[in-house]
C-alpha cells in the first residue's frame, strides 16, 4: 500500500464530497442539512441552528449554543463581589444595567443590607432604561430580520438618547457597572430628570412610529401571525419567561408578582399579555412593554425621594456564609443569580439563570415543520442576545 499523506487523503475526501455534495444531499430522503450560523446575519452573533430541510420545509432543527461561552459562572469564583458586576454586565449586553441588579440584590440579601429608598428608585429607573434600550433595538431589528431596513435606523437613532442618559449618570454607554452592594456609585447629575422625561417622550413617539411602520403593515402581519405558535403549557414546560410567555397569555411578571427589592411596587403599570402566542403576539407584547417602561420611568422620576444613595457598608465586603437566589424581570425574561457564599471575599459558587438560554431551548419544538423564512421570524420574535445564551 502506498503511503498517502494526510493532506492527500483530505483532498481526496473533499473532492469526493464536492462531486456528491449538492446533488446527493438533495436527493436523499432525509433532505438537506442547512447550517444557520455560527456566522449568519440572522443569529445576532454566533448562535448555530442546524436545520434539516425538505425543500424549504424544516424536518427537524436543533440549536447549538456555546460558540461564545465565556465562563462567567466559573470566573465569579475568583473575583471579589464588587468586581463581579464588571463581568456580568456583559451577559445581556444591550440591557447591561439590568444584569447587575439581581446579583447585587442577592448579595445584599446575604449581607442583610437594604439600599436606601433613593438608591432603590434610581436603580429601578436605570433598570427600566436598560429595558427600553434593549427592546427599542429589538423593535428595529425586527424589521431587518423581516427584510425592512429602515426601522433599524430609527431604533439606533432613538436608542442613542437613552444611552446618553445612561451615560450621563454612570459614565458608561454600554456597560455601566454602576450598581453597588448597599446602593449606587453616584447620585443623579443635575437636570437629569427633566432630560430623561424628554427622552421618554421620544421613545413613546418611536413606539408609535414603529407601530405604524411595522405592526400596521399587512406583509408584517402575514409574516408573523400564526407563525411559531407557543401554547401556554408548552411554553411553561420549556421554561419560557418574559414577553415570550406573556404573549402566550400567561399573566406573570416578577416586577409585579414578586418584587425582590426594586421600587416597582410604588408605581402603577400594566402587565400586557396576548392570547395568541404567535410571533406577532411576542413582538406586540414587547412593544407595549416598552411603552409601559417609559411610563414607569416617568412616574419614578416624579416621585424621586431624597436622602443618601448608599447604605452603611463595610469598606472590605465580606459576605457571610449562606445561599441566596434572587430573580428579576429583565428585558429578555427572568434572570436569576443563585449565590453561595462561604464567608469569603468572593462567592463560592454562582449559578446564573439567564432568560435567553431557556427561551431558545424551545426552538427544536417550535421550528419543526416551518419554512426557512419562518425560522428567521421565529428566532427574531423569541428575541435572544447571544451573550445571554452563552454566559
Amino acid at each position: 500500500m502506498t503511503a498517502v499523506t494526510e493532506r492527500q487523503q483530505l483532498a481526496y475526501v473533499d473532492a469526493q464530497a464536492a462531486d456528491a455534495r449538492v446533488n446527493v444531499e438533495l436527493q436523499t430522503e432525509e433532505g438537506m442539512v442547512l447550517n444557520l450560523g455560527p456566522q449568519h446575519p440572522a443569529t445576532h452573533g454566533t448562535l448555530r441552528v442546524t436545520a434539516k430541510l425538505d425543500g424549504e420545509q424544516v424536518v427537524w432543527a436543533d440549536v447549538v449554543p456555546g460558540y461564545m461561552h465565556r465562563g462567567y459562572e466559573k470566573l465569579t469564583e475568583v473575583r471579589t463581589y464588587p468586581q463581579i458586576t464588571t463581568l456580568i454586565n456583559r451577559i445581556d449586553w444591550l440591557g447591561s444595567f439590568a444584569n447587575e441588579v439581581p446579583f447585587i440584590l442577592a448579595a445584599e440579601q446575604l449581607m442583610d443590607i437594604e439600599a436606601p429608598p433613593r438608591a432603590r428608585h434610581i436603580r429601578t429607573i436605570l433598570f427600566e432604561m436598560a429595558r427600553v434600550a434593549n427592546i427599542v433595538l429589538f423593535l428595529g431589528d425586527l424589521g431587518v430580520q423581516l427584510g425592512a431596513v429602515t426601522p433599524a435606523f430609527f431604533a439606533f437613532r432613538d436608542r442613542e438618547h437613552v444611552l446618553d442618559q445612561i451615560e450621563s449618570v454612570t459614565g458608561g454607554r454600554f456597560h455601566p457597572n454602576f450598581d453597588r452592594i448597599g446602593g449606587l456609585k453616584d447620585d443623579l447629575p443635575k437636570g437629569w430628570v427633566a432630560d430623561t422625561k424628554a427622552v421618554m417622550v421620544r421613545i413613546r413617539n418611536f413606539c408609535d412610529e414603529i407601530e405604524a411602520l411595522l405592526f400596521g403593515n399587512e406583509i408584517f402581519e402575514a409574516r408573523t401571525r400564526g407563525v411559531g405558535v407557543i401554547p401556554a403549557e408548552v411554553g411553561m414546560s420549556y421554561g419560557l419567561t418574559g414577553a415570550n410567555i406573556r404573549a402566550s397569555g400567561v399573566d406573570w411578571d416578577l416586577r409585579r408578582d414578586a418584587n425582590p427589592g426594586l421600587a416597582h411596587n410604588e408605581v402603577d403599570f400594566r402587565v400586557w399579555t396576548h392570547p395568541d402566542g404567535d410571533s406577532f403576539a411576542r413582538c406586540w407584547v414587547r412593544l407595549q412593554e416598552t411603552r409601559e417602561a417609559t411610563k414607569i420611568i416617568d412616574q419614578l422620576c416624579d416621585g424621586l425621594p431624597g436622602g443618601p444613595i448608599m447604605a452603611k457598608v463595610p469598606r472590605i465586603i465580606k459576605v457571610p456564609a449562606g445561599e441566596a437566589y434572587v430573580a428579576t424581570e429583565n428585558p429578555l425574561g427572568v434572570m436569576g443569580y443563585y449565590v453561595v457564599s462561604k464567608g469569603d471575599l468572593g462567592p463560592f459558587r454562582t449559578k446564573i439563570r439567564s432568560a435567553s438560554f431557556s427561551n431558545v431551548s424551545i426552538c427544536p419544538w417550535l421550528l419543526r415543520g416551518v419554512y426557512v423564512p419562518d425560522i428567521i421570524t421565529i428566532l427574531a420574535s423569541l428575541y435572544f442576545i447571544l451573550g445571554d445564551i452563552d454566559r
Partner: protein, 343 residues
C-alpha cells in the same frame, strides 16, 4: 440612423451604438445608485449617507467601483469554475438586450423591431438563467436556495407582467415600441389631446400590475426572497466577490433602470414630450433626457417601496402572483378589449 443630419459609415454607427448602449446601461444605473440607494434611502432613515467623497458624496460611486475592482477574486474551491464565471455576464447581458429594444428618440433606437415589446419581455427573462447558474455553480446551500427561489419568483411574475402589457398593446394597436410611444403622443383623452394619452391614465390597473411585477422581477424588497439577507445571507450572490459581485450589483440597478424605461415607454409616453413634434430632429438629444427623467419617476416608486416594506414569504409571494395579479390582469385585458370594441 441614416435619417440623422450626418451620414455615418457602418463602423462609425457601430461605435456610436456601442458607446450609446454602454451609456444607456451605466448612466441610469449609476444615477439610481447615487440618488436612491445612497441619498434617498439615507434621508428616509434619518441619516446623511455618503458625504465625504466629493460634494455631497457624489464621487462615492467611483470609490465603490474602485474598491470592488481591487478586491481579490475569490472562487469557492468546489464551485463549477466555468459556470461560476459565466453567470454574472449572462445577467448583465440581459440588461443590454433590454435596452436594445427601448427607443430614446425618433431615430435614437438601437433596434426598431416590429415586435419590440415582445422582444423586450422575452430577453428580460434571460437573467433568470444567469441567476440559476450562479445559485447552482456556487456549491453553496444558501446560493442554491436563493437561485431556486429566484427562478420560481421570476417565472411567476413574468406572467402578470406580460398580461399587463397586453392591455397597452391592445390600446395602441401595435407591438412596436416606437408605435406605442407615437400612439400615446397622438392620442387624446375624451377629445382632449393636450397631453396626448399616456396609458397610465387609461391602463392604471396595468400600470399597477406592471409595477408590482417589476418590483418582483428586480427582486426588490417586498419580493427580495432570492437574496433575503437575513435568511440566505445573500442568496445566489453569497459566494461572489470583487469584480463579479460588481457585475451583479450593476446588473441589479441597470435592470431597475431598464424595466423603469420599459414602464415609462409603455405607460408614461416614453421619450415624447406633450405638444412637441414627434419627428423633430432635436428630440434625438432631448428624448433620452426626457426618458431618463421618467425612469427616475418610476424607479422612485420602486425604491420607495423597497425601503419601506418587509419582505414576503415564498408562498405568500406566489399566492400574490397567481391568485391576485394574474386574475386581475386578465380582467384588465377583457375590460380593455370591450372598451376598445365599444369605441
Amino acid at each position: 440612423m441614416s435619417t440623422l443630419a450626418l451620414e455615418l459609415s457602418y463602423w462609425q454607427e457601430s461605435v456610436l451604438r456601442t458607446v450609446g448602449v454602454l451609456l444607456a446601461v451605466l448612466l441610469p444605473a449609476g444615477t439610481l445608485v447615487y440618488v436612491f440607494l445612497f441619498k434617498m434611502m439615507s434621508f428616509m432613515q434619518s441619516r446623511l449617507g455618503p458625504m465625504e467623497a466629493g460634494p455631497y458624496g457624489s464621487m462615492q460611486l467611483l470609490a465603490e467601483v474602485g474598491k470592488w475592482i481591487q478586491k481579490e477574486d475569490i472562487r469557492p474551491w468546489r464551485a463549477d469554475k466555468r459556470l461560476f464565471a459565466l453567470a454574472p455576464y449572462i445577467v448583465v447581458a440581459s440588461v443590454f438586450l433590454i435596452y436594445a429594444g427601448v427607443p430614446f428618440g425618433p431615430d435614437a433606437v438601437f433596434a426598431d423591431l416590429d415586435t419590440g415589446i415582445f422582444y423586450v419581455l422575452a430577453v428580460s427573462s434571460i437573467s433568470v438563467l444567469g441567476i440559476l447558474i450562479a445559485g447552482w455553480s456556487s456549491a453553496n446551500k444558501y446560493s442554491l436556495l436563493g437561485g431556486l427561489r429566484a427562478a420560481g419568483q421570476l417565472i411567476a411574475y413574468e406572467l402578470p407582467m406580460v398580461l399587463a402589457v397586453v392591455g397597452v398593446v391592445i390600446q395602441a394597436g401595435t407591438l412596436n415600441m416606437q408605435g406605442i410611444v407615437a400612439a400615446q403622443a397622438d392620442g387624446e383623452i375624451f377629445g382632449f389631446g393636450g397631453i396626448g394619452n399616456p396609458y397610465v391614465i387609461t391602463q392604471f390597473v396595468g400600470f399597477f400590475i406592471f409595477l408590482v411585477a417589476m418590483q418582483a422581477e428586480l427582486t426588490q424588497t417586498p419580493f427580495d426572497m432570492p437574496v433575503a439577507e437575513s435568511e440566505l445571507v445573500s442568496g445566489y450572490m453569497t459566494e461572489y466577490s470583487g469584480m463579479r459581485f460588481l457585475l451583479f450589483f450593476i446588473a441589479e440597478f441597470a435592470s431597475a433602470g431598464a424595466f423603469a424605461a420599459v414602464a415609462a415607454t409603455l405607460f408614461l409616453g416614453g421619450w415624447s414630450l406633450p405638444g412637441v413634434d414627434l419627428d423633430a430632429n432635436w428630440m434625438n438629444v432631448v428624448g433620452p433626457l426626457v426618458l431618463l427623467a421618467k425612469i427616475m419617476v418610476v424607479s422612485f416608486l420602486v425604491f420607495w417601496v423597497r425601503f419601506t416594506y418587509p419582505r414576503f414569504r415564498e408562498d405568500q409571494l406566489q399566492q400574490l402572483a397567481w391568485k391576485v395579479l394574474i386574475p386581475l390582469s386578465l380582467v384588465n385585458i377583457l375590460a380593455t378589449m370591450a372598451l376598445k370594441v365599444a369605441w
